[in-house]
């Protein structure tokens, strides 16, 4: 177990270092480099050279990279010259809002998908199963932004039940005071996640149902609800742990699109507006944070899986 943990930890560390190299190179291969990005298109070569000398940008690349990593290790993600505020402060405000949106949608989706996936596995290849498979297939094939537009058109423009714009506010506290406006963005993310999770849950429940210990449990006379509750459910939940780890990049991607469409004031929207205004430090800071979250998420999922399922450790 310790060996496995160490191996996974080292692996994650290597990936994180790789990510910082990618982001560093991106920053330096922008047209004109960081100086041009910060000083703007009208900066003269003289000002750029002065800026580069001032900030150590005329050092060899490896030296600059080490300086960059040093800054990152001190928790300094960069400075937005467009918004005149540090990337850290921007993220401190917006990241909780994104984590809330993505987290609550993930939770609701799992809560719905687990029983439905198991129900489908039990009634495999019957009407109910085919119907639900069709629904999740359709949702799965829908681009996030198209589903969001559909929901806005039907539930907001035509039926006028929910507002089309997410709640506005600088802090998470302000955002959650308007639950009605939260419903559409959350619903969109839930539907998209549900499509994915219920497929996994169905497959995983079908697999557990075919195991010998289920036959044993049934043949010793255990009531069916107990078989489902204590054997099928528990064992089919394992893949969901991995799924959370694996879906992080996908959750952030869907989150970005949804935040843009519903004007939800999280990191996704911040990233989008930064891309529009060419605010590179913010874009790259968010990218680093999301990539590291993804790597750490994968690591935690793997560890949780190894703890929950002893078989993994030995393979």
């Amino acid at each position: 177990m310790t060996r496995y943990l160490l191996y996974r930890l080292l692996h994650s560390l290597v990936v994180v270092v790789g990510v910082t190299i990618i982001v560093f190179l991106l920053l330096h291969h922008l047209p004109g480099g960081p100086a041009r990005a910060i000083l703007g298109a009208k900066a003269t070569p003289v000002t750029i050279a002065a800026f580069n000398r001032e900030y150590g940008l005329d050092n060899p690349l490896p030296v600059q990279y080490l300086n960059y990593v040093d800054q990152l290790l001190h928790g300094n993600l960069g400075y937005s010259y467009k918004l005149n505020i540090s990337v850290d402060s921007l993220l401190a405000l917006d990241l909780p809002k994104t984590l809330f949106l993505v987290g609550i949608s993930f939770l609701i989706a799992v809560i719905i998908a687990v029983p439905i996936g198991i129900a489908q596995a039990i009634r495999r290849n019957r009407m109910l199963d085919h119907g639900l498979t069709g629904v999740s297939f359709l949702l799965y094939s829908m681009p996030t932004f198209w589903l969001a537009l559909l929901l806005i058109d039907i539930l907001s423009a035509r039926l006028r039940i929910f507002p089309p714009e997410a709640p506005q506010g600088t802090t998470l506290g302000q955002v959650i005071t308007d639950p009605l406006a939260l419903i559409l963005p959350v619903l969109t993310l839930v539907l998209i996640n549900f499509a994915l999770f219920s497929r996994y849950m169905r497959a995983s429940a079908i697999e557990s149902l075919a195991q010998d210990y289920i036959k044993v449990a049934r043949s010793k006379g255990l009531p069916e609800h107990k078989v489902l509750w204590s054997h099928v459910l528990r064992n089919s939940l394992l893949p969901i742990v991995t799924l959370l780890g694996l879906s992080l990049p996908w959750l952030f991607t869907a989150g970005l699109v949804i935040e843009q469409i519903f004007n939800y004031p999280g990191t996704g929207l911040l990233f989008f507006t930064s891309a529009q205004s060419q605010d590179y430090p913010v874009e790259l800071g968010i990218t680093i944070v999301i990539a590291v979250t993804t790597v750490v998420g994968n690591l935690l999922a793997d560890i949780a899986y190894a703890v929950l399922d002893p078989r993994i450790r030995y393979s």
Partner: protein, 301 residues
């Protein structure tokens, strides 16, 4: 998968593989080799979509470059079967032109990303050891950064051309095929026919090109099909966010983005036809991919 990085991109019905075959192996193998009905449906839709986008404009002439504000936001009717958008462009004609770039870029990305991934994965799996370690960590690193974020950073500085989009999208899509092929080549290199090549003095290049890659062809074909669907999707997202091909190019995502400003005006014809079209084309490629998987899956033979 890949681009959108839905977990284990292996396509839509990761489910069908996991299911134990109910009716045993050998007997049904003949039946299995025929392409499924859904696969035929998918293939037909793809053919029709290609005809619609590439032959359609030859038969149905519209002006998609010069705007005509006198004819803007017309509801579907005479002269404009699907109405017009806010620039007065005919929606039906624009769907055709916009589809051209989607299909072209989707197909090109699938071919390039798959080729790159196959070569990378085959070499890594065959070489093993430290080479494999380094090559696959590079894959891990690129996969750790969500593709859409990288795409937006790259698109921030320059409005991309078709060629640049193909290159960038391919660069962000080859990791999944490379993982799949590496997995297969890891097992293949221990097989007798590959070892025999080396015993007889054949080089590693020969073993990889003549033996490893041809034996992963079914995985490659299935994955490439899904790659097209993914590329079309991410391309639509990119254009929807305003970072795709710049105007006056027509794109499906751009049309949706444009039409979404008029949702509350009730101009449904500006979002529904294009939205439904994107979904149908993506589903068609997924159908085809699933069918090919069932058809070619080595384990099922």
């Amino acid at each position: 998968m890949s681009m959108f990085s839905r977990p284990e991109a292996v396509g839509v019905t990761a489910v069908s593989v996991a299911e134990p075959a109910a009716d045993g192996g050998a007997v049904q193998s003949r039946k299995r080799r025929r392409i499924s009905a859904l696969g035929i449906v998918g293939l037909s839709i793809i053919v029709v979509a290609c005809l619609f986008c590439f032959v359609g404009p030859l038969l149905y002439h519209t002006n998609q470059v010069g705007s005509n504000l006198a004819a803007s936001n017309l509801a579907p009717g005479k002269g404009h079967p699907l109405g017009t958008d806010d620039n007065g462009f005919d929606i039906l004609g624009r769907l055709m032109i916009g589809g051209q770039s989607s299909l072209e870029i989707g197909a090109a990305v699938a071919v390039i990303a798959t080729t790159l991934g196959v070569v990378w994965g085959a070499i890594a799996g065959f070489a093993g050891g430290i080479v494999d370690g380094i090559m696959m960590r590079i894959v891990d690193v690129i996969l750790a950064v969500p593709a859409l974020f990288l795409l937006l950073i790259l698109a921030t500085s320059v409005a991309p051309s078709t060629l640049e989009l193909i290159v960038v999208l391919s660069f962000l899509a080859w990791q999944v095929p490379s993982r799949l092929v590496r997995g297969e080549s890891l097992t293949l290199r221990t097989r007798e026919f590959v070892q025999a090549v080396q015993v007889m003095g054949g080089g590693s290049t020969r073993a990889v090109i003549r033996h490893i890659i041809p034996n992963t062809i079914s995985t490659i074909v299935v994955n490439a099909t899904f790659q097209v669907a993914d590329a079309i999707l991410i391309l639509a997202v990119l254009s929807y966010l305003g970072f795709g091909l710049p105007p006056p190019a027509a794109t499906w995502g751009g049309m949706l983005s444009n039409g979404s400003s008029y949702i509350f005006a009730g101009y449904w014809w500006q979002i529904y036809p294009v939205g439904v079209l994107i979904v149908i084309v993506v589903i068609a490629f997924n159908f085809l991919g699933d069918a090919l998987r069932d058809l070619l899956d080595v384990r099922l033979r």
